[in-house]
Symmetry: C2
Subunit: 370 residues, 2 copies
């Protein structure tokens, strides 16, 4: 597979995003052992940088050895035991996935739903939390299936006040929006590397509050996943350096380099860059007949969900997406679940949150549609 | 992290092994989406090549998105339900890990043990299988904690004859020893990329027989892991191409390149290369006072476990390993579990199964020890 045999893509779907050459070069470095002192230094550096990015002092902050979905599962298998009650906010496919994962643990799931494209109601979540008195409350910060940015603070406060642990999905927000895990009172959150961090998929940055870690120690049944058991993982990423599983060394080299780039740029500038691009994309799409699914106040900048003009629905949206890919090398995402066929999801994440990406896509769409 | 800032290592521990520049370059290629037709072609190619390497026609052959330990968990969570009986052969740390994983699923575990460095007895396994009539029989082909190569066929035949599903750990054997999953009658097996395939850690090549896949469809309870659910994974790696989780694209680029190199070389030559190196290492270590833990007939070529001479035990084996790493850039592995402090595990895996690796280590040891 020579370098020239793969097509070049501008990845404007829901992730992965394009990976910077610095990160690709870091991943291609010669291998180190997972117990090598130099590798463990890099792991320490990654953990420290992730703490700053998540906005937390949590010692238990680490890249889990799986994708974002493994991160979701890690939070739930550690905090839930069979029979535990959980309230889950379902605003799209990823809230739905939370219900599925929690059900498989044997938890009693109470769903609080909201129509696709809208935010969860603080009042409805509070009502469910009061009624159910759950062990865990879980919801999604940046719902990748609808492009909604969920306000976090009120729900998290209500959950904490009711004595619940708070789990937040930050898969699409980490590195694109400022996070304040400690100030918000989040007990467990997970992300993914292939969104606003612009790394390859394969790792799930995650963080757990001290009281979440304590809770895991007080369980009456073992964590059902040995691979994702926080206590065992802590033996490796903590001071003991006890072997658990072999860390994905090269992927962590890549993550370390990405995090250096994020810190060099600074989250303030990075946040502004994502916001500007999201805004410019919507402005450019409106004259072409696309309409945003989400009202402006709750629209994600890095993942814009737009309803398709009738002309595209009639002629087949999948065919047009395929033409963008084949003729122009641009990938955009279709709808998931109930929104399949009626929306597109356009990602401007990390490296791709550039006005040049926005202009490239708009140029091609104007050419194809007018 | 510039290319020059990381130390160069000769990785002669229990994995990861050194990664060939071709594989590192493949991983550094620009990103493709996980639904990109070109990426799906590469995934198809990887699956086909893994089938040849495992010695199977199983359609359900795939790289799982986690390390070898996730592969172990995937086999068990799919084939076992709470209350199911399983017979596990425990010849070292990884058989022990199987017991732990199966227990967390709620299975009734029957252990058949053998002292470290010895193979499981066919008769003892047969006795337990007859007595317990288990749903699953599991054991390890290449026990990475002891360097034992377990004969597979008799145990697998007994298990099949008793109506059990057979799970085999091939973490350290895939790519270094010929495997015959179909001929042996194995229903589920998993490996890892960082051993004899000489890829970075992070993926677990695995394969499941049609009757194993059927069994998963007939479960009365859902697979407890959503992330590792074979039925959902099959929706993506099969013909439907249904999104499940985002595949680790770059890691799969690397695996594809490794598999091309394995096929270019051919397993016959590759097997011979591993065998010769393992033999040469033992021959060279004997005069230095190291003695093989395992008798010649059942000794793994790619992972040689040796008992340490008294002089090294007395002066501290960890200190000598650290000196080999710091002064010569050579990593070797210590003992795990009950063997910690009394053995070394020396890996000659994939790219490192070269007489030059053997000579480099022996040269350094002679210098340090005489």
């Amino acid at each position: 597979m020579s370098q020239t045999s793969l097509p070049r893509r501008l990845l404007l779907g829901p992730g992965p995003s394009n990976v910077h050459p610095r990160v690709r070069a870091a991943m291609a470095q010669p291998m180190l052992g997972h117990m090598d002192p130099r590798f463990l230094e890099i792991l320490d550096e990654v953990q420290a940088s992730l703490r700053r990015l998540f906005g937390t002092q949590n010692p238990m902050t680490l890249p889990l050895s799986g994708t974002g979905s493994a991160g979701m599962e890690a939070c739930f298998v550690n905090l839930l035991e069979a029979g535990d009650r959980i309230v889950i906010g379902v605003a799209g496919v990823f809230g739905e996935r939370m219900c599925e994962v929690a059900t498989r643990i044997g938890a009693q799931v109470t769903r609080v739903e909201t129509p696709p494209g809208t935010i969860l109601s603080d009042a409805a979540m509070a009502e469910a939390i009061e009624r159910v008195s759950p062990r865990v409350v879980a919801f999604v910060h940046a719902e990748t299936s609808t492009g909604v940015c969920q306000p976090v603070e009120a729900i998290a406060r209500t959950a904490r006040d009711a004595g619940a642990f708070v789990v937040l999905d930050c898969v699409t927000s980490l590195g694109g929006l400022p996070l304040a895990v400690d100030r918000w009172g989040i007990d467990a959150t997970y992300s993914a590397t292939q969104k606003c961090l612009s790394c390859p998929p394969g790792l799930s940055p995650a963080t757990f509050s001290p009281r979440a870690v304590e809770r895991v120690g007080e369980r009456t049944t073992p964590v059902q996943s040995w691979y994702l058991d926080l206590d065992l993982l802590g033996g490796y990423v903590g001071n003991e350096r006890r072997y658990h599983h072999t860390a994905p060394v090269s992927a962590i080299f890549g993550l370390a380099e990405t995090l250096r780039m994020v810190e060099e740029e600074g989250m303030e500038i990075r946040t502004k860059r994502h916001a500007e691009c999201g805004h410019a994309l919507v402005e450019g799409l409106l004259p072409l007949g696309f309409t945003p699914l989400v009202e402006a106040a709750h629209r994600l900048p890095m993942l814009v969900a737009v309803s398709l003009p009738d002309s595209i629905r009639r002629s087949g949206e999948a065919a047009l997406r395929r033409r963008l890919l084949d003729s122009y090398g641009i990938e955009v995402g279709g709808g998931l679940g109930s929104l399949a066929g009626s929306i597109w999801r356009i990602g401007l994440m990390g490296e791709n949150a550039r006005l040049t990406s926005v202009e490239s896509l708009l140029h091609v769409l104007r050419r194809e549609l007018t």
